[in-house]
Every structure is written in C-alpha cells, then in structure tokens.
C-alpha cells in the first residue's frame, strides 16, 4: 500500500467540526430551532462560567467521582476474585462461565428499580448498580485470561516447587494480565456510564441528577454546560486510560 498524506483527512475532520460549530452558532443567532432544544452558544458558555463558580457544581462532581470510585473498586475486587475462583478447576469453569456470560446478556439496567428498592435513592444504589454492571466484563475477562494460561507453565511452576500463591503471583497473573487489563478498561467505562445513568434516572445528587434537573427546570443552557463537562471528562479519561494501558502493555 502506498503511503498517503494525512493532510486531506485532517482537513475534512476540521471542516466537519467547524461546520458543526458554525451550524450551532447560526441556529443560536437565527432561532431556526427552538432555543429550548438548542440554546445559543454564548448562553451555554455563560451558564458554564456560572456553573463552575457554584459550590453545587463541585459537590455534584465530588459525589459522582466518589460513587464511581467505590463502584469500580468493588467491581474490580469482586470481578477478579470471581474470575480466580471460577477458574480453580476446569469443570467449574465449564459449568459457571456460560452462566456468567449468559447473565451478562440481560441488560442489567432492567434491575435498576430493584437497586433503588433495596439501597434507597441515595448514592448507595448507584454504587451497587455501577459495581454490578462493571464486574461482569472484569470477571469474564479474568476467567478468559486465567483459563487460557498454558498448562505447561503451571506444570513447570509446580514441578519447580512454587507455592500456589507464588504461582498466581509469578505465573498465572502475568500470563493472563493483557486479557484482564482489557476487562478492567471495559469495566471502568461501563461503571462510569452506569453511575451517570443511574443518577440521571433516579437520584438526589450527582452530575447525572443535575443534568436531569436542568432539563426538568427547562434550563437548556445549564444542561448543555453539564453535558459539555461530562463529554470533555469522558474524552480525557479515554485518552488517559489508553495511555496507561499502552504503557502497561509495553512493560
């Protein structure tokens, strides 16, 4: 394949984003679309400036970050432990792996009302919901990673007299790590999205609740400001996580 210049592609990307921004600006000026649905750009900017100066903004961000952190911590711990226990015997893996992946085929969002019923409307239900959603990809990838480790490595480790913890620490885990890492990444973004989703659907605090509240109060500029904040942080997190992943993979 011949080497092609990146320049035309970049130019089209730039033109696409510029025309999107231009369309937003023109709509804001002319009012072609109801400002309730697409508020003018300046109004969103003003709402954003006003928003970051309030305590409400920072407390909502703190609540959401804490919820995501707790949910992800539980998902990682339970997911890896489940994966480890399920792969202790080949028979157990054959019995349980299809059950875990089969259950993951059901949208866990369906069970969200149960989480509200059991854990209340506060952050606890969002922690449980985010953890329940995030632990599946982590557990499934841990199972796939650990079950896929070459038997010869394990036999060699055992015949050289390595303890079972030593085997896990020096043989099983490093060999399964790339697959587990993929599960950790997928699990993180699922956790992130489901905590925000849980807050949007039914909550009293957090970023998702504030977006829904702005919509209920018919304050589209404020809602757009929140949406821009979330999109920017999601894209930053994405870049950050793939950077970390590349570094760990290269290691």
């Amino acid at each position: 394949m011949k080497e092609t210049s990146q320049l035309p592609a970049r130019a089209i990307q730039f033109a696409f984003l510029a025309s999107l921004m231009g369309a937003w600006f023109v709509i804001g000026r002319t009012g072609a679309v109801s400002p309730l649905f697409v508020p003018p750009m300046e109004a969103v900017w003003r709402a954003f400036i006003g928003l970051v100066q309030t305590d409400q903004f920072w407390s909502a961000v703190a609540t959401t970050l804490r919820t995501i952190g707790e949910a992800y911590g539980i998902a990682v711990a339970v997911g890896i432990l489940t994966g480890y226990l399920v792969t202790r015997s080949r028979f157990l893996t054959q019995v349980l792996e299809p059950m875990v992946s089969g259950f993951f085929a059901i949208p866990i969002t369906l069970f969200f009302p149960l989480f509200i019923l059991l854990f209340g409307i506060g952050p606890a239900s969002k922690v449980a919901y985010g953890a329940a959603y995030g632990l599946f990809p982590i557990a499934l990838n841990t199972i796939a990673g650990l079950a896929g480790v070459n038997r010869h490595y394990l036999n060699a480790a055992r015949s050289m007299g390595l303890s079972s913890f030593g085997t896990f620490r020096h043989v099983l885990f490093p060999a399964a790590f790339p697959v587990i890492l993929m599960g950790l990444r997928i699990g993180f973004f699922i956790c992130f999205a489901s905590v925000l989703g849980g807050e949007t659907i039914s909550s009293v605090s957090g970023v998702g609740r504030n977006i829904a509240l702005a919509a209920e109060l018919m304050e589209p500029a404020r809602m757009y400001a929140w949406i821009v904040v979330v999109i920017a942080s999601a894209l930053m997190l994405n870049t950050l996580v793939s950077g970390i992943e590349n570094r760990m993979r290269g290691h």
Binding site: F37, L110, G197, V207, A215, L235
Partner: protein
Amino acid sequence: MSLIQTEIPQTRAMARQSRRQFSHAAQTVWTRRLLVFGALVIWEFWARLAGNSELIAPPTSIARALFSDILSDAAIRSAIMLTLFEVVSAYALAVVVGLALGLAIGSTSLSRRSLFPIILLLYAIPQVILLPLFTLGFGIGPAAKIAFGFSHGVFPILVNVVAGMRNVNPLLLRAARSMGARPSDIIRNVTFPHMVASFFTGLRLAMTMTLLGVILAELYVSTAGVGYFTRLFAETFDPAPLFALIGTLAIMAIGLNEIVRKIERRFTRWKD
C-alpha cells in the same frame, strides 16, 4: 474377516469415548441446573423466613404475581408490548442507517481516515447524559425511546461495518483490480462478503445496546409505560409484581438476543 475384527474394537472405543463425552456434557448441564435450583430454594426460604417482605419476594410469590398482577393487567401488558415495539423499531432503524453510513464511510480510504475517528470519538461519549435532551426534543412518548435506542444501536453497526471493510485482505483487492473489476464489482463481490462476519458481530452488539437505550429511556420517563409501573411497585413496597415485571422484560431481552445470535451463527457459518 480381518477387516471386521479391526473395525469392531475401534467402534467400541469410539462409542465409549462418545459416551464419556456425553456424560461429561450431561454432568456440566446437570450441575448448572442444580446450582440454579439450589439458588432458587435458598432464595425462597431466605425471603420467607429472614427477608424483609417490603423489599424481597420469594420466587413462588413472583410466579404468582406474574399471572395475577402482570399478565392479567391490560395496561401493563400494553406497556410491555410498547417496549417491544420500541426496541424492534429502534433496532431496524439502527441497522439500516448504520449499514448505509458504514458502507459510505468505509468505501474510500479518504472518507474512512477522515470520518472514522469522529465516529469513534462520538462512540466514546457516555450517551446516557443526553437522555434528558432526547425527552426534551421528542417528548415522553415512544418517539424519544426509539430515538434513544437508535442512538445506542447505530454506533456498533457503523463501527463494525467500517472495520470489516478495512480488514479485507489487500491482496484480494489487488487481484480483483488487476483482473479488471469495477469498483462496484469489488464492493459487491470482495468487500461485502468479507465484511459480513464483522457486520453480524455489530448486529449482536447493537441489539444489546438498543435494549439498553430503550430500557434506560423507559425507566427515565416515570409518568408512563414500564417506568411508571416499576416506580409504582417500588414506591408501594410491593416487590413481587416488580420482580415479575422485570423478569418478563428480561425474558424478552434474552429472546431478542437469542434471535440475533441465531441469525449471526447462520450467516457466518461459511467462514469456519
């Protein structure tokens, strides 16, 4: 004679092996069934003896509530059917639009290199934060739910179609070109058959995502449809019909996923 003698032990060994394989598979299946049954029994006793009856219902009460509260109530039945209609419409839209856009973006190298990164960027956004915007734009009726389900389902198809078109072996393309195939021939006879496997992966992912989108929107709008009933049962601390309603929708989701998986298996068999 000698031929028969050598053949008999072989078939016996094969029969023994297949019996062993069968018994092993049966053992797996029966262990699985036993686990599910055991979990249901523990749930039943725990819910009856120790659980808070406002929060948790035993499986037998849930089964009873399924018939007495859910399936016999015309309003709930029509809410469930409406959800099914929304999922199917959103999915159909996502497939048509995703395939068309994917073919258009993937057809030339320039359009792929310029537009695909934008698509991946959009795909990385947690779309659930746009849910209030959808109800603001489309109201609280089925339109918002179909639109939200569509916005979830279209990306996996789009991404997989473009990725599938990119993964065609360049040697095949060069061979087709050197034998004088026109671009339309190449797309129809080389690119398309190779894109199919990836496309069906996209179809399966898209069903999962469409279900997610529609259910999120259904739960978000708590004044009508399924979301109204789940809120009603949760707020009146009536867990049996809540579990039964959720179970019915879960079975619907499993059924839709299975249909798509069957289609995928049927159409990607030629590759093995």
